[in-house]
Symmetry: C2
């Protein structure tokens, strides 16, 4: 079976690593990036054509993959003047791996469907190390047939693809699970402040948490950075605020309170206001420490 | 080296299993339980003397271990009329494996010290399966020398003994980590309510959580029971309320807010009021479900 030609849009922290894995796996790539110089440098290194516009990219691709910062960018790239729809043929598959609202994913799916373009929303987790190693988890919403078509691509990018249901449900699960992760990190941060106040031996605390009832992926990844107050950026705080906002919107649309996530959002906003927005979201700890220190 | 004679007080869900492991390991045991019939039945099965009072038990023991429900029981058993102190000789070691306040642990340590009785506070985690299998985690507060003396006993009861610092610090770490666990469970419960409301495929949600950023020991143990709303009791809700109250007291004593734990305490109290007090604390989910269903 001949491999489909891929158009890849968005060569940021995640996208550049994911596209590199596709190139290394032998896929023929055309790329586009908002900053053209980035696309040209990437194409020179990995071997790809650079398209002048998303429309041009779509014209030479069977499958278009996008991973950009937010829903506004996704929308512009798809339906803007020189957007993907302007250049696409019927039968194309569009895979959006950005994190956007489930509502927008459904709406884009409908608009693409009117042009007989198939759509999958497929946000990912695993941060940049997962993108680089090809070990992402992919949460895909769309039809069985479209997921089957995308499988050779997903197999290169990730270790686990979960079919979450219809278009939009990949996003719903992504933002809910990110809200859980952020809230677990916030619980841990608050407990750490209490432990410090009570004179607890923090190495003993870590040892008890590890493998015990209080353990979590967040404890594995974020407790030591919080103890040392040195944050290696795996996932930016401001991006996590965006994801938690989307989860709060899902909850609000259903009229369901999600107050742990709302509280976590407040703490992250405080830490962001204190200058930690570009730092790993473990730095939400700093908002609590500032309060404990009696900062204004 | 001759093995120390053990007096074991409290043959409840945890204690009966822990004492059975000590008996099986060849320790010579005297037991006491508030309900005498329980002690007699246990002794008949596992081979032990039954003491008439804690004082009598102490008189024939080198090491006294207690695991009972709360601080009031611990205090009565130690310093009550026919309590441990009344029968103990200088040089005895008393190990309290109940969960009590760090403050009370320190105070009991002082009072026992006046009688030259050594003290370790050594609460445990791992629930009844861990007690049965001898795979508890033991959080011990006390002197290095006393912990060394207790090591042959702890090695039978648990797989991991963490020296948490001075007397009382075992309790502090225990209650803080239990507050983390309960809060992680509450975050998960609330996220599950949102997911149900948004029509999420719950099997897909589980699959994404497992091994991902939102994963936790609580997700491993409690998500499926919450999805099925069928709770296998590993750790009773009312006991968890007690532990979280102790964590809130640690925080309050230091003047530090611990609002995730406070919120979790509220949810658990609601679920307890709805009749789930004797059920596993995963049933805190029911408080949220009742609200989502619009119950009064």
């Amino acid at each position: 079976m001949e491999r489909e030609r891929i158009g890849f849009i968005g060569l940021g922290i995640m996208g550049s690593r994911m596209a590199a894995n596709l190139a290394a796996a032998g896929f023929e790539l055309t790329v586009w990036n908002r900053t053209t110089a980035t696309a040209e440098a990437w194409a020179a290194e990995h071997g790809a054509r650079v398209a002048a516009t998303p429309a041009e990219l779509a014209a030479e691709s069977d499958v278009v993959i996008k991973i950009v910062v937010n829903g506004e960018q996704v929308e512009e790239i798809l339906v803007g003047e020189h957007g993907v729809i302007a250049g696409a043929r019927a039968g194309m598959l569009c895979i959006d791996m950005s994190t956007i609202s489930p509502q927008m994913a459904r709406s884009l799916g409908e608009r693409l469907g009117e042009h007989e373009i198939a759509f999958i929303d497929a946000p990912v987790t695993g941060s940049s190390p997962g993108a680089e190693a090809g070990t992402l988890t992919i949460m895909a919403g769309g039809s069985e047939a479209d997921l089957k078509r995308a499988a050779p691509i997903f197999d290169v990018l990730g270790v686990k693809t979960v079919h979450c249901g219809e278009i939009g449900q990949g996003q719903t699960i992504k933002v809910i699970t990110n809200a859980i992760a952020a809230s677990n990190a916030a619980v841990l941060a608050q407990a750490l402040i209490v432990a410090r106040g009570a004179g607890v031996d923090l190495a003993a605390l870590s040892e008890v948490i590890s493998g015990g009832a209080a353990d979590s992926r967040m404890a594995e990844l974020k407790l030591q950075p919080m103890i040392e107050r040195t944050y290696n950026t795996l996932f930016r705080l401001d991006h996590m605020i965006k994801d938690v906002d989307l989860a709060l919107k899902v909850a609000a649309d259903e009229g369901i309170p999600f107050d742990y996530a709302a509280r976590t959002r407040e703490l992250m906003a405080e830490a962001s206001a204190e200058g930690f927005g570009d730092v790993d979201f473990a730095a939400l700890y700093e908002a609590l420490q500032a309060r404990a220190d009696g900062a204004p």
